[in-house]
Symmetry: C3
């Protein structure tokens, strides 16, 4: 039984990764071949020749005039997946076509629909508008994770781990000490977890990028749209500085931390991360600093989650975790994901998903 | 359920590989110990001590006077597999004997019989007389394949892949473009696939070895004797030159490409290859060129087939291939192999083996 | 079905390995966290945080004032395993406690009890008093084994392998040639195997450490207390020299070779070894020589047993070994281990454990 929801949109790549060369990435266990056609569209088809399953992305396979030629026996396909030529005969079998994936390029991401193409409604794709906005400056990357995607969901929904796993980078004691509020919007399919810290130490990540030197007010407002998109709205201001009555917030620094959590297989994950800021937009030093520091932080998570995946592989069946209040958001996310992967609608959560004690 | 036919002869080694030292190779999942006795015979017995299963080929195990002494506790066996000495007691248990394999050395190969020794009829071993003939000059080798043997059978029965996977080496466009004729001799247990190309570009492999510079007539006549022996009779001549009425063929170059396809395990294979030519017999440059070039070509197959083995490991159950006319020979071979591994005689093929569309 | 006996004491470490830093070792499949508290006691608790199973030994986890702080979310535990602090709330769940292991430090070893703590009777731990005795000089170490513990038990109970696997180190022809006597004390839970060699070549291991140059009398008296502790009482004297009538033995050299055989997992083992001698107590050259030589010998076993583990993984089910007289002690040990792991008391051995032929 897979724990990966199907009939869902997933981020497969950044748009910048797809050019005029063959590009392959496995999403939810499905190997997908991408290229950008001469008209600028992203083609996405199965990366397995229908003949003898050879990966079309593998050399000496190649693109010729927007068509991909299999490197084993030369089966040739268009961007629509339809086979146009086979060796040794002029008739091409009617069934010779690659699975074609619905694709939407949006907010710098290439989204693909995994599941029944009938359900591929582009308007359901959650947004991360900051990543492509001129009002923000963004750094981003992707790290491969040798761990199931649910472990990354757990990780990101409970930021108390910043204090410990990321101490000296983005964590300070106040993060773990401050209680959270959790809100689950079943209808919209969003989990929200908020932590508003009135008076905190400023961690190096924010001190070095904003220039703030004293105590800060630090707000963390998470919005997770299962299965794939996670945003942390991070607000940093001098201690005591709040948004003004009209909603303006000129004395605060805003960072939108975006993750796209894409299962590669049941046990591996593509961990896309982006950090968009509304300050120091053209300061290359800040850009370089945040790009490097955030990657370091992501890699700290990667090490921890890869360890957990190995721990799970070796542990006895029926192993029981213990959950507390900080896990409320993560447990809600697990319930929504379990419903999604079971293909049921939202009436009631499986007991097995756990509850805080 | 194994897909490896038993009660069959397989090539275990070249004769030159077996000398006065212990030599081990696994054939069809059975680890076999070889050595050449002082009388020049090849001994072949199980490479597992009957006592505590220690591999007899492993140091400090050694040969002493045509007997093998186990490196763990010193159990000692003759070339007939019978144990002649055990530690701590003079009586040797009657059941202490290694499985002994029927062996035939022929055409430079060491053939072993896998299965019930009762059925080991040496006259059934298919022949490759060119390899030991003074009228031919031969280069040969063996490459280990991390893929099931059936993938190599598929590969060799459909040479249209030369155009793509081996383009610039042995493939030209005409190979994939020219239809094949297939003939299955159920009684003799042979699959024949022929492709006669009237007018083709001469690929580097043949141009550099024959000296031909213009267009050529190129014949490929495959004979596969499942499970192990495959021969490609390759005839290269200046375009339009055919054998004379009496069957003589003095203006053509003949190459016998021989493969022995030996399962090591269910998922790995010994890929023995040899190229015998009837021209430039003493030209060391041609010998060196063909040895190097053919190994390059074999390694291109190894990379492709190792990939396919991984693809199969990750794909969903019930995955369906699509077959076309070029696959007729390969599908016939699969049916014969399926009957052989099921131990049935030749009346009717399983539907699951596929058919061309 | 595990073959590892539970409700047993096992050696987890040498006392010298456990200090004021976190130390982790897996015993019988259970990952255990050790440290030495400021009062000098060895703490042993489960190396998995109760919250999200993060290994407490993994960075940035750390010890603070004899308490261990989880590196993921900061759950904090005392040496008794009780959780004293969790993030984001002041109430600590009652069930938040790590499994605590009974520990006894004795004879330089740290013993842990695996199983139901109710049964942890320290008086049942077998003794190896030479290791901590001022009358002996000891060298010791531990080698990780990629093989099941039963293979090491087989190895150590049948020393005829010294002649072959350790020839030129500790083996000479007389070891394999001399019959053994075996005695099984079911009540005490001890297997004894003795081999008294009247007149033998002196192997380098003993020649170089004792200075003896001629023929020797060599006694090997094994005591194995399943599952973990093995002692070889080794007596070396000039040929013909026996203990005197009063039991004194001033002209012999005595070596106590001790192994602690601790399953790490079903297929891997901690191979603790020690060599204690009653001569040349302060001779550093002898100490260095024995430490190096014995490690070489242990590594010869490691190579052989790692090979056997791979052989077992690849062999057909129902593979049958052949046993002879030298295996009497090993077979008795297997029967006792099988009863222990089945949790039954000692009335009759399973037929499957084999018998000598």
């Amino acid at each position: 039984m897979s724990s990966i929801p199907r009939d869902q949109w997933y981020v497969a790549a950044y748009g910048r990764e797809i050019g005029g060369e063959l590009f392959t990435r496995t999403v939810c266990g499905e190997p997908i071949l991408f290229w950008r056609t001469r008209s600028g569209e992203v083609a996405a088809v199965s990366d397995r020749c229908v003949h003898r399953r050879f990966p079309l992305s593998q050399e000496p396979g190649r693109l010729v005039d927007d068509q991909v030629v299999c490197g084993y026996h030369g089966f040739t396909y268009g961007a629509d997946g339809v086979c146009v030529s086979v060796p040794g005969q002029t008739r091409v079998p009617r069934t010779a076509r690659l699975k074609k994936y619905p694709v939407v390029e949006q907010d710098t991401f290439v989204w693909v629909w995994i599941g029944d193409p009938e359900g591929a409604d582009a308007s359901r794709i959650p947004r991360a508008p900051w990543l492509a906005s001129p009002s923000y400056s963004t750094v981003s990357g992707m790290e491969p994770l040798q761990a199931r995607f649910g472990l990354l969901v757990d990780n990101l929904l409970d930021l108390s781990h910043e204090t410990y796993l990321h101490g000296g980078y983005i964590g300070t004691p106040e993060v773990a000490d401050t209680p959270i509020t959790t809100e689950v919007d079943e209808e919209a399919g969003i989990v929200r977890v908020s932590r508003h810290i009135d008076d905190a130490e400023c961690p190096p990540f924010y001190a070095n990028s904003t220039g703030l030197t004293g105590r800060i007010t630090r707000w963390q407002d998470i919005e997770y749209s299962p299965p794939c998109l996670y945003t942390l709205h991070s607000r940093i201001a001098p201690a005591g500085v709040l948004p003004d009555a009209g909603g303006g917030d000129p004395h605060a620094f805003h960072v939108e931390v975006v993750y796209a959590i894409t299962p590669e297989t049941e046990r591996t994950t593509h961990d896309f991360w982006a950090v968009a800021r509304d300050f120091a937009l053209d300061d290359q030093d800040v850009t370089d600093y945040l790009a490097h520091q955030n990657r370091v932080v992501v890699l700290q998570d990667v090490v921890a989650l890869n360890t957990l995946e190995k721990v799970i592989a070796d542990e006895p069946a029926q192993y029981q975790e213990l959950s507390i209040n900080i896990d409320t958001g993560g447990l809600a996310a697990r319930r929504m994901l379990a419903r999604m992967s079971a293909g049921t609608s939202g009436q009631g959560a499986p007991a097995a998903a756990g509850r805080p004690r």
